[in-house]
Amino acid sequence: MAVTFETAEQVRETTEQKYKYGFVTEIEEDRAPKGLSEEIIHFISAKKHEPEWLLEWRLKAYAHWQKMPEPKWAMVSFPPIDYQDAFYYSAPKSQADGPQSLDDVDPQLLETYKKLGIPLEEQKILAGVAVDAVFDSVSVATTFKGELEKVGVIFCPISEAVRDHPELVRKYLGSVVPYADNKHACLNSAVFTDGSFVYIPKGVRCPMELSTYFRINAQNTGQFERTLIIADEGSYVSYLEGCTAPQRDENQLHAAVVELIALDDAEIKYSTVQNWYPGDENGKGGIYNFVTKRGACRGRNSKISWTQVETGSAITWKYPSCILQGDNSVGEFYSVAITNNAQQADTGTKMIHLGKNTRSRIISKGISAGRAQQTYRGLVRISPKAKGARNYTQCDSLLIGDKCGAHTVPYIESRNRSAKVEHEATTSKISEDQLFYCRQRGLGEEEAVALIVNGFCREVLQELPMEFAVEAQKLVGISLEGSVG
């Protein structure tokens, strides 16, 4: 399989020659040539005007990556990835390349936007239509920025943070997900080009929900995003990532890394709605979403809560986890994963209990339709020092039709006798009785399925921030269209 990029042809022509003669960092070119090498990493680092320590870190990651095997344990299958057949750096896409108005956009995509109730201006951004510089969200973002600055919250692209807040980035980058963690995270460490940085100072409750959507420069979501969020003592932040609208991207491989750090009495709530292009009904052209997300509850009484609604991508490989180091710290994982047609998802969480009286809660709802295969994979580890640790896990799977599959693979390791670990799992189908009951009351088949599935996911959806929750409910229905009848 080739990792493709839409301007591939054009770029090859302009860069191949230079590459032949040894590509060096000083070249004023907006795109790096195809393939991965030390030179490319030098190039990326130079483009970003990065300090020496970061370049060295990237190079170490790259050296390690070359020796690392691909993780093979997930229940997903795809042809081997040809990493050399991809581009690892490109400047933001020129607006002239994109569609010039909504009339040029795939009508099917527009139909979905309409169903989700997305305002026209937002539709343009999502579909990659050229928008005026004086666009509402820019001024909104500026207003937000001012308000955040007042309380000392830092919210900026990570490349900007490397420049402006090097001491924070250097201290925390890779401290939760080391570059050698896994092959995908290692690749990200070597070549990441964009992502968010958030720092909430001591005792500050972030006055608004932070969303990637409002981040300046957010229009080109990177293929290798790197997000770093630090909540200092006694602070609180709620962060929203992704959006419910189907996002198209020509980059097939996505390997993001998200690191969260919560110090004493701090709380981070991280919500994701992931709806990358799942490919056609055979999965062709869909995104491979190989993400490493991990939070460290470093401080006492700290809390990290992950909520995810995963409906997109051809393949999802994702395990947002919590390392519960601080005594009395709390980790939560609320997940809805929907797979339809030929989608594959292997997702779950890890709760690593290190501190005393640490608590974790896992609520996972998996819905499979079509020929999709889905696995919940979760680890609950209680270390010898985690006296009084508690975990509650609930995994429910819902099957629609008889060609899909749901699998639950819980790993539980308890090394402390005082720990209490509970695991509950169910697998069910939408019954013919339920469907008939709904239809007798006037609901069409698809509306009935959407309602029943939303009921099934309710515990998770209610964890989402209000405005996100409403959209997510609609998304649940849309994701399952065509799965019955």
């Binding site: 007798q440 609901l443 309602l451």
Partner: protein, 249 residues
């Protein structure tokens, strides 16, 4: 209003209804009584359009339309409501949410304006008050953990909200104590209207003490074998269904 002619229907290849005729006019309440296995529930499912209930012969016309051509949700839109013998649980979906979706789907079908949240709540309050239903029940997921009586009361509420023109009550009395039975009967009676017909399917006569029908039919062996006024129900109470046993052949 509803005209059933020579209806034959099979379930899993087995013929259950064998030439059933029934005519219900607007505003009439008909009761269908019969022994177990006579085809009572099959009739209600055939009218509602449940999958697996195959009509092999005959016709069903409703308000001049061929009912058998329509999907279950279209029939609901046309005004057919089935009160279930065993109402189905829908975990995680609050009764209010369910009702709102159902009502708006039906209004959409009828080409009427959907209700917004405020209008809906106002309407619902009035209906629940009339039926003596506590708000608390509406917040709970549909039929999950409801008592037998609550389930039936909820069916009555759905009926009141959806305002059908033909309500089919499939053994609504099963599993109810006498108090619950009265509540359900009161609900049904309060919904009697000149433009609303009802088909009350029951095994026992006692429900008909509270819902007094205009016509009573005996269903046996997949056909209506006897019809009469409300006094027929009392007669059956005394004699039982034994004399109709032969009709099954």
């Amino acid at each position: 209003m509803l005209e059933i002619k020579n209806l034959h229907a099979t379930v899993d290849g087995k013929e259950i209804l064998k030439g059933l005729d029934l005519h219900i006019r607007a505003g009439e309440v008909h009761a269908i009584m019969g022994p177990n296995g006579s085809g009572k529930s099959t009739l209600s499912y055939v009218l509602a359009g449940r999958e697996g209930y195959e009509v092999t012969e005959g016709s069903v016309t409703y308000k001049g339309k061929n009912l058998l051509d329509l999907d279950p949700e279209e029939r609901a839109g046309e005004g057919i409501f089935l009160a279930f013998q065993y109402p189905v649980e829908i975990p995680g979906v609050a009764s209010t949410t369910f009702l709102k979706h159902a009502l708006n789907a039906v209004l959409r079908y009828r080409g009427q304006e959907e209700l917004d949240a405020m209008e809906f709540v106002k309407m619902l309050r009035a209906k629940t008050a009339a039926l003596g239903i506590a708000d608390d029940m509406l917040k709970r997921p549909v039929n999950v953990g409801y008592s037998g009586g609550e389930k039936k009361r909820n069916e009555m509420l759905q009926m009141a909200v959806l305002e059908p023109t033909l309500a089919v009550l499939d053994e609504t009395d099963s599993g109810l104590d006498i108090d619950a039975l009265k509540v359900v009967a009161d609900g049904v009676n309060s919904l009697r209207a000149p433009d609303r017909s009802m088909l009350v399917i029951t095994h026992y006569q006692r429900l008909l003490d509270y819902i007094v029908p205009d016509h009573v039919h005996v269903l046996a062996g997949g056909r209506i074998v006897r019809s009469g006024g409300k006094e027929l129900a009392l007669e059956l109470e005394k004699t039982g269904y034994a004399e109709f046993a032969g009709a099954a052949a």
